[in-house]
Each structure stands twice: as C-alpha cells, then as structure tokens.
C-alpha cells in the first residue's frame, strides 16, 4: 500500500485542514500553544555523545513521539576523534533544511500546489580559529549559512519561490539562527 492510497485527500501528504482547525481551536485558549521541546543527552566517550528524544510538553500536557529517536554526535577523524556520528554543527544544518522543507510542503498544500520533488544543499561556513581560541575576533559558530533549494512543482517559478519565502517567514529554526536565543546552563556535580 502506498502513501497515496492511505491519504488520498492530503495534498503533498500535509493535513492542512487539521492544522487550520488547530489554529482556530488555539485562538480560544492560547495556553495550548505553549510548547517545551526536550532532549536527553549522555556522554559516551571522547567527543561522542548520544541524545534520546521522546517526550515534550504541549497542548496543555505531556506528549510523546510515536517512538523514541536516538541520535549520535561526534567529531570527525580529522579532529583526531572517532567519527561516530555527524557533528553538532551539521545537525544544525539538518534542522534548518528539515524545517524549511516541511514548511515548503505545508505552504504548498495550503496554496493547492502539488510538489513533485524538493531537494536542498545547506552549507555553513566556520573558521576553527574561533573554537580553538586562536583569535578572539573570530566567532565560534557559523559566519553564514547558505541554503540552495531545487524544487519541482506544478507551479510557476514565481509561485515556487513564494513557497520558500513563506516557509522561511514561518520557520522556527531560521528564526533561531538569525535571532538571539537566550541559553541558560546549570550544572549539578554528582
């Protein structure tokens, strides 16, 4: 059974009706829109650590994903590490790509545009002089991030560009990157 068989009424596989319905329901009680996403990380060895993502808070209570997801991160061999996973900064690129792409599919569904394929290459420039403490003027993180989309859809090039623009406008990860997020860190010695 293909996805098309199971969800014949969903454009691009996105349940637009349900999303618009949720937005209406939230208007009556905006406490439901307050979410807390959560991740639990455990150090394995060297720069290798493992994160489990399962539960989160939202719509007024504790929620769970269908299944816990486990993600390994590490540094590459070129950093004298064991390369047991993607690097933390690569996961940031993945997050941005996935956020924008999910948005493109949702906006396209909402606008009645059928997508045939969406691919993207995301690159982030970083100068290691920052994290190695070699030059105080060089930042630790990305100096810039580029996203290149290639989209095949039943639409004009202008309409396709409009999908990406609207997706970026509503993207949580784009906002996290382009704006400041306060980070608070606590430590308990065991």
């Amino acid at each position: 059974m293909t996805i098309t068989d199971t969800t014949p009424a969903l454009p691009n596989g996105v349940n637009v009706e349900a999303l618009l319905g949720a937005r209406e329901a939230f208007k009556g009680d905006t406490s439901l829109t307050k979410f807390t996403w959560r991740a639990r990380n455990e150090w394995v060895n060297g720069t290798h650590s493992r994160t489990t993502i399962e539960d989160f808070y939202g719509v007024g209570g504790e929620q769970s994903h269908n299944a816990p997801q486990v993600h390994d991160a590490d540094h590459p061999a070129i950093f004298a590490a064991e390369d047991n996973g993607s690097t933390p900064v690569e996961f940031v690129l993945h997050a941005l790509a996935a956020c924008l792409t999910g948005g493109v599919a949702s906006v396209a569904a909402n606008r009645g545009i059928k997508l045939n394929s969406v691919t993207s290459v995301i690159e982030g420039d970083m100068d290691l002089q920052g994290i190695l403490g070699m030059d105080r003027e060089v930042r630790n993180g990305y100096q810039g991030v580029r996203v290149s989309f290639e989209i095949d859809a039943d639409a004009t090039p202008e309409e396709i560009e409009g999908l990406v623009q609207q997706s970026q406008k509503r993207s949580a990860v784009d906002d996290i990157l382009t704006g400041n997020v306060p980070v608070e860190i606590g430590v308990a010695a065991k």
Copy 2:
C-alpha cells in the same frame, strides 16, 4: 575489547595532544582553519524529510566522514503529521547538548580531570502562535533554552562547573543560538 584497552593514553577518550598539535600547525597557515559543513536534504512526504551528511570542506580540501549519516525529521502526530522522526527544533537541542558535552570532555581531558559520567536534559520553550501566524509579537523559534548537566568526575564541584563554563565559551552551537547567523536562501525551479 573495551575502549580503554584501545586508547589507554587518551584521557576521557579525547586526543588532546593531536588537537593542541593541530592548533600549532594552523597558526602557520590559517587558510586551513576555514571549514564549510554541508548537509543534503530531500523531501519525502508531508513534513517528513531526510538529510544525508557525508562530505565537508576543511584543512584546505574536501573531506569525508567515515560513513554517510542519514537523519529523518518530521512533525509529531499532534500536528496531524506522521511522526517519522524528531522535529527540526528538537535537533537543535540535540546539537547544543552534543556540542557542550563534547566540549566538557575535551576541556576535562586538557585539565587532567577524569570524567565518569555526563548527562544533560535540554529544554526549549516555544509558543506556536509564532509559527502559526497567530500573533506577530510572538517569535517563531525558541524563547529560551535551558540545559541542566549532571556530571560525575574526579574533581571538585567548582572544577566541574569550570568545565561547563569553558565548554560554553568555546561552543559553536551555543554561539549559533545566542548570536545572529546570516541565512541566505536560493531557489531553482526544476
């Protein structure tokens, strides 16, 4: 064979000597410190997309991970999606946790502190009124992120706290979140 057997000389499994050596080598040619990290994403269906991470540029040329890593992202069932993976914003929390934890291990190794265990819970607060376009005053991304470490190490509580402080000071992902990263998006219609 345990990890301890294979790397008897590496404190916390971190090759501090190699890292310090690289820093010295980079001083002679800072073109080697310019990195470009890369991710390739493909839309699957609905808000489900898949990223492959394999190659990157650094130390003056194209590099590859030992193996390509594939990461699925999706929205949860509560958003009328199929929950085929962690959400993009959860991957941001994973990236921050992994970056800080790898840093803690590296700093501890450099300071001669033996780690026994490092765990953390990372939470990010988000108000869906942003991404749903319900309130222009509400941002799309995280309003704040909290990291709670629990660390068991052969060190005093002050020394343990110092590990986390130094890790945060040199963290690429902490910098990406707390500072602004320019994001440039291009679209080619196929």
